[in-house]
């Protein structure tokens, strides 16, 4: 498995877009990891009369917002939160999707039909609307619940993918051989089928990170996701609406960081996909 990981990494690294994505992502992750220790408290306010809406300059590299808080510090902390949410939710989503897909693929008939019709229906409800409905009732949703909600609305595609592969593999010789040797359903699913669907799952998961980051930013922008004073990228754009004409730095930088993050994740995801399925290149 580590050999496979190594080969995959090399394949992504070989592609200029993949390398750019990996490098950008590594820099962003590093910034999110150590930045908060070197920057002022993102919620700290200075003197509102003299310290608010300062343009980018020596004291505050990216300026301050209307509450005199350091924009750079808020952007870095927001980035950290976005990455954590994106990664956790995408991983959870892939786990749910793989589980449902394996069950549906291994149990043809009623279970399969029931699960897949449900997935069809879930795919028909745009993800944002489900989240709006839930969050409108669930005022001040705790962060773990928000992550879980993002994961619970993000697994449908993966489950279809895994089911299709499971159905295809079920009649392969190596699976039948394992059956003949007395391996149980669970063992076959985990040891024989799962490793063979790992590649498409990895691609789906990577692209899922970008989707989650965008979705969370959007929900927060609509006032439903992360609440102040926790710094978040979407929340910063929302707050900047009142002052963006005179203090554009309050909205430019958080947005740029979202674009950069999602773009680099997607570049890596694309390179992965090309490496695993050369036909799509």
């Amino acid at each position: 498995m580590s050999d496979r990981a190594r080969t995959l990494f090399d394949a992504v690294w070989k592609r200029p877009s993949g390398r750019a994505g990996l490098l950008a992502l590594a820099s962003l992750a590093l910034l999110a990891l150590i930045g908060p220790f070197m920057l002022p408290d993102p919620t700290m306010q200075g003197d509102l009369l003299t310290q608010s809406l300062l343009p980018p300059g020596a004291g505050h590299l990216l300026g301050t917002d209307q509450l005199s808080r350091d924009v750079l510090s808020r952007v870095v902390n927001g980035l950290r939160l976005s990455l954590v949410i994106g990664l956790t939710a995408a991983i959870l989503a892939v786990v749910f999707g793989a589980a449902v897909g394996l069950v549906a693929g291994a149990r043809p008939g009623v279970v399969d039909a029931l699960l897949m019709r449900t997935v069809d229906a879930l795919l028909a409800i745009p993800r944002l609307f489900i989240l709006l409905l839930v969050l409108a009732v669930w005022d001040r949703v705790p962060l773990p619940a928000l992550v879980l909600l993002l994961a619970l609305t993000g697994w449908y595609g993966t489950s279809r993918l895994v089911r299709a592969e499971t159905v295809r593999l079920r009649h392969e010789d190596f699976v039948r051989a394992a059956e003949a040797l007395g391996a149980g359903r669970l063992r076959i699913a985990l040891h024989h089928i799962l490793p063979n669907v790992a590649a498409p799952i990895l691609v789906a998961g990577t692209l899922g990170v970008g989707d989650v980051i965008l979705l969370e930013a959007g929900l927060t922008y609509l006032g439903l996701g992360i609440r102040p004073p926790t710094p978040s990228l979407g929340g910063m754009v929302l707050d900047s609406r009142a002052v963006f004409a005179t203090a554009p730095w309050t909205s430019i930088f958080p947005g740029l960081v979202i674009v950069l993050t999602v773009l680099s994740v997607n570049l890596v995801g694309d390179a992965l996909r090309e490496a695993l399925d050369p036909r799509s290149a």
Binding site: P16, S17, R117, T118, D120, A121, L122, A124, I125, P126, R127, L128, F129, I130, L132, L133, V134, L135, A136, V137, W138, D139, G210, L214, A217, G218, Y221, L222, G223, L224, G234, V237, S240, R241, F244, A245, P248, S251, I252, P254, G255, I258, V259, L260, T261, V262, L263, N266, L267, D270, S280, A281
Partner: protein, 321 residues
Amino acid sequence: MTWLARRALQAVVTALIALTLLFFLVRSLPGDPLAILSEDRPLTSAQVQDLRRRYQLDQPLGTQFVAFMTGALRGDFGTSIQYGRPVRQLVLERLPRTILLGAVVLLINFTLGLWLGVQQALHRGRPLDRLLTTLSLAGYAMPSFWLGLMLVMAFAVRWHWLPAAGAQDPGLEGAGILTIVTDRLRHLLLPAFTLAAVSIASSMRYQRAAMMDALRQPYVAAASARGLTRRRVVWGHAWRSALPSVLTLFGLWLPILVVGAVFVEQVFAWQGIGSLTAGAAAARDYPLLMGSAVLATAAVVTGSFLSDVLHALLDPRVRTG
């Protein structure tokens, strides 16, 4: 059963299951819509009782479900909390604006987007292809609300070239038709561009892949060998055969549009369903949110059904399975 009947039945079943899921999702939530409703203004228990009756929360679950389903199928979602008017009326009022915006974006995506995708396939792996791929991915990575804000900052606030919000200037009644049309177009430009920029990547990418497949086919090489012009080979042979599979894109692309419209309409104060939804979310206007969720679902199911039908019309293999 014919293919069409089967596909239509499937669409109906999908929509019904989706409605059922929406209903139970809402009923299983930990919060109480009435609690949020009455957050800032204390209600007497009589008022709460009245509200419960009005939203049928005092009925058994089965009765509520039947009422919800029959209501949804008739387009009746009750009264908006914010506006105090029927949800259906509000939605119908706003629908034309959203359709206008959506149609313009659709046009951009399915002309410019497909053309760009073909160019990418023709220049596969070369700098033009790489540049277009990166640009479209950057667009896809952009939060639409942020891109909209940036465009307003540049074109409306800084340079005063285009209006920042709304769909028309006030006080144009009695103006010439040309003035009115120009005014509408000026208002449409920024929202349509924003929505197209964040959604065009999927049309480009899909067309690129389909076109690359088509270009690999032997009959394309044969057409070139027969001495047909490059233009005829590319558009007459390769692109035409790639078209059916590109049409399925419409079904995939519609959800992106529906979601994008919520943010874009909100930023540009475009008085359509999207901004109505964003406002309903902010105001916790539950009936209105449910109405727009059902409408969005209906749009997605219809879109994917229509694209499958178009696909089948152009490619008979689909019908015979």
